[in-house]
Structure formats: C-alpha cells, structure tokens
Amino acid sequence: MNADKNTSAKLFEGWEAVIGLEIHVQLNTRTKMFCSCDVTFGEPPNTKVCPICLGHPGVLPVTNEKAVEYATKIALALNCSVAERTIFHRKNYFYPDLPKAYQISQYDLPLGLAGHLDVELDDGSEFRVGITRVHIEEDAGKLVHAGASGRINGADYSLADFNRGGTPLVEIVTEPDIRTPDQARAFLTQLRSLVQCLDVSDVNMEEGSLRCDANVSLRQPGEPLGTKTELKNMNSFRFLQRGLEAEIERQIDCLERGEKVIQSTVHFDPDSGTVSCLRSKEEAHDYRYFPEPDLAPIELDLSYVERVRASLPELPAARKERLVADYGLSAKDAVTLAGNKGLSDYFETLASATGDARISANWVLGELSGYLNAAGLDVSQSVVEAPGLAELIGLVTDGTLSGKMAKEVFEAMVTSGKDAKSIVADKGLGQISDLGELDSIVLQVIEANPGPAEQFRQGNQKVVGFFVGQVMKETKGQANPQMVNDLLKKHLA
C-alpha cells in the first residue's frame, strides 16, 4: 500500500497515467482451438499433442465451435457488438514455441467490437472502461530455458512443450480509459468475475489462464497522449498493481529528468518489484497479417447471437443490484458476493434456508470466506455446504448455541466434516436453557458467595458480572447468558 501512496502522491504532482490493458483469457473448452487434442494443465510435456497442433507438414486447422460460442459470450457480456461475419488472419513470426511459425488470430474483422465494462471501486464510485475489441486466437507452446537465469538469454538450451499450443484464447483489448493502478486492478478483478460467471475459463492468473499486459503512458492532464510502453509479466493481481506503479514511477522519473520515454516492452520482475526494458519497439516484427486461407469465414447470424445472449447467466452487475434490492445487503457486501458466482449462489441458498439474509451474509463473508481463503479453496470445494451452515445458524437462532460457540462448531465442522448437530451432541455443547436447571445453579452460586451478594444488595451492580462468571464456570460456559442474567437479578434482589 505504501508504493500505492507514493504513486498517488506523484500523480497529484501533475502527472496523469493513461493505461490500457490487453487481457488473454484461456478458454476451458474440452479440446483445442483447431484440433481435437485435450486442453489440459500440468500434464507431462508433449503428451497432449497431434500432427495438427505440432504444425506438421500438410495439416489443416478446423475451428472449435465451442470456442466461438465462448468468445461470443465474453463479447456479449462486455457489451460488444458481435460481427455477423468474422475471419481469421495469420500472424507470422518465428519462435520455437510457435509450430507453424504463424499464429492463427484475428485482425481487422474481430468477433467483438466497441463494448464496455462498468467497474465499481471500493469507495462505491463507478467508472467505465471501453472495450476496443474481443477476438479469438490460439495459444503458443511453452519453452523451458535450462540454465541459471531461467530466461532465454544465457540459457544452455531450451526445451519446447507443445501441450498448451493451440489452446483457445480470447484476447480482450481495452481503450486507454484507466488512470491508476488501483483502477487497473479493480477492472481486472471485475473482468475476472465476469468471465468466471460465464464459466468459459478458469481465469487463474497463476496458472496462466488469465494473462494481462498493460500499455502505459504519462501526460500532464489535458495534454495529448505520451509515448507508451508495453508492460509484461504481471502474473497476479498484486503484480499488476505493483508493476504499473513501478512503471509509472520509472516514466515519471524519466520525464522529470527531462528525458523521453522510449517506446519499448518493459518486463516486470516480481522478485525485485522493478521493471526493465526488454527491446525497443522500433525493431518490432512486421507480422505480415493476411486472411487465413485454410479456414472459411465464421458467419454469426442474428439468431445465433440471440441464442448465445439468451444463454448468458445473470452477470455480476445485475446480480449486485438484485442482492441489494432483494436481500437488503449493503452495496459493498453485494459487490463482493456478486463478484464470485459460487459464493453468491451459496449465499442465496443459505439465505433462503435460514430466512435471514443479514446473518447469512455475515456468515458467508465472515467465517466461510475466512476459512476458504485460509485453505485456498474455492467455495465449490467447501467442506461445509449451504444446508449444513443453515443448520448451524438454526442452532444459534433457537438458542442452542451462542454466537461464540457457533464459531467453534463451524471450525469443528470444517476439520471433522461432521454436521453441526453431531458436533454439539459429541461435545455436549448445547446451551443450558432449562429454566429449572439454571435456577438451581444460580441459587447455589448466590448461596456460596454471600459477600458479593451483599454488595449487590447495597447497590453495586457490577458484581453481577462476577456471578455470571461463576455460573458459566459451573456450566462450562454452556449457560444461556440472557437467562442467567435475568435469574441473577431476580434472586439477588
């Protein structure tokens, strides 16, 4: 957060950052973009390959229709217009991870154009990021550079793994509408929620199914755009923010020294938190794009687009509105829940089971999220499912458990996998709410402590606390506190 404040400080010194993002989303189709190999992660090298994705002589691509459908979903969810006719282009360049020496991608006729995403910040304010385009392409393979650095420079040799080669990707390019690293992070977080909600990608930055590059330039507010750099290698939300901060600072330092920013690719090093220029864009490739002659154009007629639109789930923005309206949640809680489809589904099931949205939201955003985050689990992997948690909440409502005890039971549920009632029974945790039983305990305690009882009668109200403590000690903390209080006041008076 410190770095953030520094940047903000510098930004207020008269500089404005202009940021556009290029996001790659790996689609979770069963098979690859242009062949029938499985899309996988973490398999042994070169086991999910075939002549087509290895670029053998004579092979031809065939478009994965599911990938087109998924890309259409993303385009529609981002409010893009979907092209009636879209074509693939070849992007030509040599690299050992690119078997055909061209990437089948899209160029001047992308699938989706001119959309936007409205992003809500923590303070409740909203800003709109324009979406320039959404297009489909294929992923490259992966190179493993053997040698100390792990980078290609200085490597002894490099190994190529083509398992990832040909995986369907959707590239999303934003307009340069982002002004701060905070906004960039908020945008990407909410974009991820959106794609997650569509269930078309795992959108996992660490595993590379969500990748983000940034174009960054600086200017004095109101001035024309400055020279931009392309910032790469930010493979987490935190690194996106830190990378942007570092690059903005580097550019400000550069400009304040009276130097020019050189158009280049900048690499973020997460270990040092610094950025370094890779290569000048002047030597950039001429990709010699031309229409891919091996593939027919994709015709997406209106009825197709409408069918896909109709199949879209409730998107986070709409869900947030509904959570506020139907459950009376705060905007902040609603945004958090709506951003996670699984969690908000969980919440809604829970709220309808318990009949109390407030308490349900507190449990989901409190204990449940705490446990999931600590264990690094997705809500779908939670040991405690919504009906089980509803039962636990029911035990609080009917007075069997205190709030504090319920949290302990929840922990026990998580570790043991047992349901709330069996844990309460096993541990004898049920709250003592039997009036007769409590009454006799209270009388015993008063009798055993004549001194404090006398103090109360002389007007010292504070000793009630002492008596409550004694009762709790007798009952191992299981007495219903409200009832104990009432009984003490009655018998001490």
Partner: protein
C-alpha cells in the same frame, strides 16, 4: 502369366484382377519390374516402396474380393507432396529429407481404404514450385517422349510415370497448372478438380487457396474413377466440399448441343505455332462430333500470371515458415544460436526457386506493400472469377491449349524464371477462379504431345470428363511413347 504393363490403364488392371487371370502380387511385381527397367532413365520415382507394395498386394490376394472395393489390388503412385504414414515424404526438398509423416493424407487414407497398392513416391518441383520438375532437390525427371526434355511440372514425376507405364495412374497436385501442364507435356490425362472437391488434408501446402489434388491417368475413364475415389467433404479440411455429383464413368461420344468458348487471349500469339495447329485440330474434332466452338474474350486472364505470382508466393511464404529445424526435417549443424539455426537451416534446406518465392511473398505481405501487391492481386482474382462467370452464361465450357508450348529442353528455361512462369499462362486463370480443368492429349507437334484444356463451371467435373471423353474417342491417339527409341 507375364504381364506387359505398357499402355495398361487402371481399368484394364482392374479387369485383369477381376478375371482372376493375374493376382495383385503379379500385377504389382510387373510394375516394379517396369520401374526397374525404365526408371533409371525416366527418374520419375523418388522412392519405390517395393516391400510395402508387395505386402499390400499380398494382403489383397489373401482375402476374398470385396464387391464394395472394385479397385482393390490396383497399383498407384503418389506425388511426394502427399503425406504417407510411415513412408518418407520430402516434397523433393532437402529440408524434409528423412521426414516420415505420422499420419496419412486424407486422399491416401481413402485409397488405402479402397485397397489400392502404393508403388512409391514421385518426383516433383520442390514444394510444387516449378513447371519442369527441374527444381527437385534430388533428380531431374525426363519426358518419356524425349529424354532430353522436361516432363513439365510440378507433377512431372506423376505425368512421366504414367506416360512411361511405371504405374497405371498417379496422383498429382495442381496450384497453377501443376497437373495439367505436365499432363500436356507427357501425353496423359490430368484433371484439376474444383477447389474444395478433394480434401487437402495431408497435402503439404504450397498455396492453400489454390492447391488441389487430382488424377493423372492414361484416359478420361481412369481420371473419372480416380476422382471419385478421392473426392468428398472432409471434416479435417474446412475448405472441402466434395462434388455435387460423382464423376461417374464418362461414356459420351458426341458433343451435340454443347457450346465451347475458345479463349482468344490464350490461343493466339501467346502459343507456339505447332501448338496452335494441334489445338485447331482439336477444335475441328469437337465440331465434327456436334460441338459448337466460338471465340470468346476473357480480358482479365492476361493478368492471371501476375496475380498468381503474388498470391501463391504470399501464401507459400507463410506455409513454408514451419520448416524451421525445430521439430522435424533438416536442422543446420552450423548454428550457435536460435536465429542462426533458423537462417542456416532454411538456407541449406531450400532450393533457389523456393527461396525466390518466399522472398516475393514476404515482400508482398509486408507492411506498406500489402495493398499494392497482395490486396491488388486479390482484386484481380475477383475480376477473373467474374469474367469466367460471365462466359459460363453463354458457354458450357471454355477451351484453350493447356500450355503455350510443347515440353522444352532440360536446362532451357532454368535461368529465366519469367519464361518459366509464362508456361502456366493458360492454366493459372482457371486455378485462380477455383474452376475444374482437364488436360487431354490433342495430338503431337514434332513428335511431342500437345494438350487440350477443357474448363467448366464449378463442380462440372462430370460434364468436363464426358466432353473430354468424346474428344478422346474422336481423336483416338496412340499414347504409348516409343521409349526405347527416344530414351535408349
């Protein structure tokens, strides 16, 4: 029994097998013997798969005949641009020396399924780039009508092999004339199907929007039969459509009621006098069996060669980029780093013509030149397509000589690429318009064969083959080259 394979058609082979007079093993052995006898002179084969062929033939002989597979046991040879699983496929290039494909091209799989016996892989211009087969990295194939002359190209090995009866028939590929021109030069029948009629899966790409696989045969009946064996929509090739109707067996003997447009731009000064003479005799033959021939102008075809030599190299520059030494084929031993590996591998692996076209194509697609070259060529292509559409409103077919000359001398044009390119003047516009075209022998000029090209609307293969059949019957040429005299 001793089989004389000289002049034997595939249909004749089939009849011999069906009559049980000869076994597939005997027939296959007879062709292998013929190859042993003459291929030292013709050099049509890059690879003869004796073992594989005899094994496949023995397998056919060992089982009961299958009525659904009439061509079972009939031998065939394949241009070396078609991937054959387990059998080296080089495209006549050093860069693919030793490359053994892990899969069969769709056409190869279809023929295998139909029980045909593969004799081997045939020579060609490297990556199908050329009109004489002199661009092969391995050998120069001779024209069986005159061994000092080229067989044409790029399917020169296929045409020479069929002409010399080293196989009853063969598959070739045609991008701008690579089936039809060598067929014309070697006195055989060559059909380039409508773009999309035959799957390109496993055809090592030269120019994807133009490449088609087709038959080279001794007559139109064999061409029709082979086309029907290989045509069809293929889920592995998104650009494939198959034929609307099978080619069937052409039987037509007359041309009553058919109108033939004689393309003025391709029949005048553009062609050698000897070729014009033979072509005129073909026109006479068409008219003598009832066809009507009238001159027609196709002004845009004259720009065909220019457009073709931008579009085809552009696509080739991209298609051939995968030969980078990383995964298969040649890799230079003289490289210290990645970029040296690329540069040396490709410098050592590709021949001069391939390099020339990669450079032309790379240039034509470059930023700042794309509109002037590639895009402009595509507009020309559209004009040619429209010109043909217009002509087919008035004519059933258009005809021209297949090539402006007869087969030229080996070495004659190697140092003049432009003269070599102009060889495809008559065939290129047909390829650009994605139309089907056939070349059949129309006669001889000074002892060398001259081809007649018949072109029809998209998917008119059935009609073209029948029209060609009528002309073939009328001309009744003797098409067995006197090999002993000319290539002694």
């Amino acid at each position: 029994m001793a089989i004389n394979v000289q002049g034997l058609t595939a249909h004749a082979c089939r009849d011999l097998l069906a009559s049980r007079e000869v076994s597939s093993t005997e027939l296959t052995q007879a062709y292998l013997d013929r190859i042993d006898e003459v291929d030292g002179r013709i050099q049509a084969y890059l690879l003869v798969d004796r073992e594989g062929a005899l094994e496949a033939a023995a397998a056919v002989d060992a089982k009961a005949p299958d009525q659904r597979k009439p061509w079972e046991g009939v031998p065939i040879a394949l241009k070396d641009v078609l991937c054959t699983k387990g059998l080296e496929t080089t495209c006549a290039s050093r860069i693919l020396k030793g490359y053994v494909p892990p899969y069969d091209a769709t056409v190869v799989a279809k023929l295998r399924q139909a029980g045909l016996v593969f004799l081997g892989k045939l020579n060609m211009d490297e990556f199908a780039m050329g009109s004489s087969t002199e661009n092969s990295a391995y050998q120069v194939t001779r024209n069986p009508w005159d061994c000092d002359r080229v067989p044409g190209g790029s399917s020169g090995g296929s045409a020479a092999c069929v002409a010399a009866s080293e196989a009853p028939w063969a598959l070739g590929t045609d991008t701008g004339g690579s089936i039809r021109q060598p067929a014309s030069f070697c006195g055989v029948t060559g059909l380039k199907p409508t773009y999309g009629a035959v799957s390109r899966y496993g055809l090592i790409a030269f120019a994807s929007s133009l490449d088609q696989i087709g038959p080279l045969t001794r007559n139109t009946k064999d061409a029709a039969a082979l086309l029907d064996l290989i045509a069809g929509r293929d889920p592995l090739d998104s650009t494939s459509t198959g034929l609307n109707e099978p080619a069937g067996i052409p039987t037509r003997g007359d041309l009553e009621g058919l109108r033939f447009g004689v393309v003025s731009e391709l029949t005048g000064e553009a062609c050698d006098p000897g070729v014009r003479e033979v072509f005129q005799s073909a026109v006479d033959a068409i008219e003598s069996v009832g066809g009507v021939c009238e001159p027609v102008s196709l002004p845009s075809v004259e720009r065909g060669v220019a457009a073709y030599y931008l579009i085809a190299p552009s696509e080739a520059s991209s298609n051939l980029a995968r030969f980078d030494g990383v995964r298969y084929g040649h890799r230079s031993k003289h490289a210290e780093d990645l970029y040296e590996m690329y540069i040396h591998t490709r410098s050592e692996g590709f021949g001069a013509e391939v390099k020339r076209r990669i450079m032309i194509g790379t240039y034509a697609l470059s930023a700042g030149y794309y509109d002037a070259y590639y895009a402009q060529a595509q507009r020309t292509r559209t004009l040619i397509i429209k010109d043909f559409e217009e002509v087919f409103r008035r004519f059933d077919y258009v005809i021209s000589p297949t090539a402006p000359s007869v087969a030229f001398k080996i070495g004659e044009k190697v140092s003049d690429p432009l003269a070599m390119y102009l060889n495809d003047l008559c065939t290129i516009p047909v390829s650009l318009a994605a139309l089907p075209g056939i070349s059949i022998p129309a006669g001889f000029s000074a002892g060398m064969p001259v081809g007649l090209q018949i072109v029809g609307p998209h998917f008119s293969e059935h009609g073209i083959l029948n029209a060609a059949h009528a002309v073939e019957q009328r001309l009744a040429l003797d098409l067995v080259p006197p090999l002993e005299e000319v290539c002694g």
